[in-house]
Symmetry: C2
Subunit: 347 residues, 2 copies
């Protein structure tokens, strides 16, 4: 088959996604047998110097159909001389055991399988086939859930692999649309299977795909690109904000063994977003294992009200295990795990 | 009528919007005669120490109905002992003359009228009745137009008055929903007119209100609040980014009379969003009257590619009137208005 412009472009995008990495790279590629992942596998297989290992998980949710998917992936790999790992897991049983939805259990099983297969093949790099349409839907999904501007970053081209942060998840097709992927497969005569992973989407994601997106496309036919760009712009913003928070920390916060002391006046002069960012960053460092997802926005606002007031002494419980002791010139944030004798900690 | 909890809350919100300003404040309030603006006028009239002047523009688009709106506003003001300014403008004729849409001509006429009335009453402060539903719709509208994260800020509680930046536009109801406004009016027996300004909305805004929003509400009933909060979060982000850009400017940029010299290595170490921010800020300062809305994103990215490369000398036309001269250690941005003799400017 002749290589069309579109095929060249998708392959160039795949190559660009790997450009920052060692040239003799082994790359694990998650494949379902559907068009998205076979396009990805084909495009990556054409990046010179890269060794591709396909990885397919049979979720055992669709009987003979699922077995046929696995065989299709095996045949695809063999025709191209690519290594392939295929594994079976009873996802329905996993969901029952963990009392979670099939979608969630399948997602977790898939990432755990990819992490395991990557380790077995001595690589840190795992590629998956999320594309621009997925990204646009994810932006709307996060927006509807109220995730704020940070959530609008949606999926990153490079991110830690969920559940295995030492491994890197790559999404080389994040700027390629579903339509382009279908054309890619058609142009090269790649035979694809129905993408079973789409059947595992939750109800909200399905409504976004089948109801919200078509309506938005009537208003702006370029809405998917607009949303994908919005994710890029939110990601760039988040990076700037993280950088500004770091600068603010060096400027007005000093760290002791188990606490952070903040210069109250310097902190108060920061923009509101940085005031919040500094508080959040201190919490994140005081309890690195939990993160800040359970840190309530209104708790931060109430703390800010006190810290910005003329109050000369106060004690704030920012959350169960984080306390802020306020004096005239400073406030000290420290971890305050429920003690045997709480009275001993009173100021 | 007894003051309900809702009425107290809306009045407290109105009072909070004025808290940063002088206590003997004169405030011009734009009123159409519809529920939103009469709620706003009533709530502001209850903020002690504030002198309210109502301002109503008859757009002369709906004949006797429009005259009745004006009379309704006059009666509302007289019943409360409030000053009122009422003016007529032939908006249809203005639209024809300027060859613009009725919506656009009406908007411009309204803001020009408010600015003029504010000046005549010796105040810098103008309040309008945009509420949380308007804000949510504006977020979606901006998002659909591809305005990026900066556009998601949507409307601000305080902003320069369009066309008269020395005056301040206040939106005290931005966190109050349309439903709450209707309850406010019902609770106090305030008789309202059909809000004619809603008839002047463009087609996209109407589709957002009548098709997109109801669909999103089916998925998440709290979507309006979610979108309004997203606007707050985008506004806080934008403030942090502006602050970080300022810091970066002092750190790696020096200004001469008509140019900005940037330390190339220091600039290259900034996060991507700040690299872009610094370029944009320099453009904004080099041509303060035009802003950066016509500065193409891809032009910035192409310039970044050169500036981040190992190129030792280059000349970049960032836009028609902004040139960047690159040497090994610096790049110099300057205004480059089309000269009589272009050769004289060549390096």
């Amino acid at each position: 088959m002749p290589v069309t412009n579109l095929v060249s472009r998708v392959r160039a995008e795949a190559a660009a996604a790997l450009v920052a990495f060692p040239s003799q790279l082994t790359l694990l590629v998650g494949v379902s047998g559907g068009p998205d992942s076979l396009c990805l596998a084909d495009a990556l297989a054409h990046v010179s110097g890269t060794r591709i290992v396909l990885a397919h998980l049979n979720h055992q949710l669709r009987g003979a159909e699922a077995d046929a998917d696995a065989q299709h992936v095996r045949a695809f790999a063999e025709a191209r001389g690519l290594a392939v790992v295929i594994e079976c897991q009873d996802v329905a049983a996993l969901a029952r055991q963990s009392q979670r939805s099939i979608e969630l259990a399948a997602r977790e099983a898939r990432y755990a399988f990819l992490a395991q297969a990557a380790r077995e093949h001595n690589t840190q790099f795992v590629a998956v086939a999320h594309h621009a349409d997925d990204q646009a839907e994810t932006v709307l999904f996060r927006m509807l859930r109220g995730a704020g501007t940070e959530g609008l970053r949606a999926m990153q081209q490079r991110a830690p692999l969920p559940g295995a942060p030492a491994l890197m998840l790559l999404r080389p097709l994040l700027r390629i649309t579903r339509k382009e992927i279908e054309h890619y497969c058609a142009d090269l005569g790649i035979v694809t299977r129905h993408d079973a992973s789409n059947d595992l989407r939750d109800a909200t994601r399905n409504r976004i795909r089948h109801e919200v997106m078509p309506l938005l496309q009537e208003i702006n036919p370029g809405v998917k690109q607009v949303l994908a760009r919005l994710a890029d712009s939110a990601a760039a913003d988040a990076e700037v904000i993280a950088y500004a928070v770091e600068k603010a920390l060096t400027h007005c916060v000093s760290q002791t063994r188990d606490s952070f002391t903040v210069l109250r006046a310097a902190w108060a002069q920061l923009p509101v977003g940085l005031q919040r960012g500094v508080l959040r960053a201190c919490v994140r460092r005081l309890r690195p294992e939990q993160g800040v997802t359970d840190l309530n926005f209104s708790a931060i606002e109430e703390a800010r009200d006190v810290l910005l007031s003329s109050v000369r002494q106060a004690e704030i419980a920012l959350m169960a295990e984080i306390r802020i002791d306020v004096d005239r010139e400073h406030f000290v944030m420290r971890r305050h795990d429920p003690p045997a004798n709480e009275v001993a900690h009173a100021a």
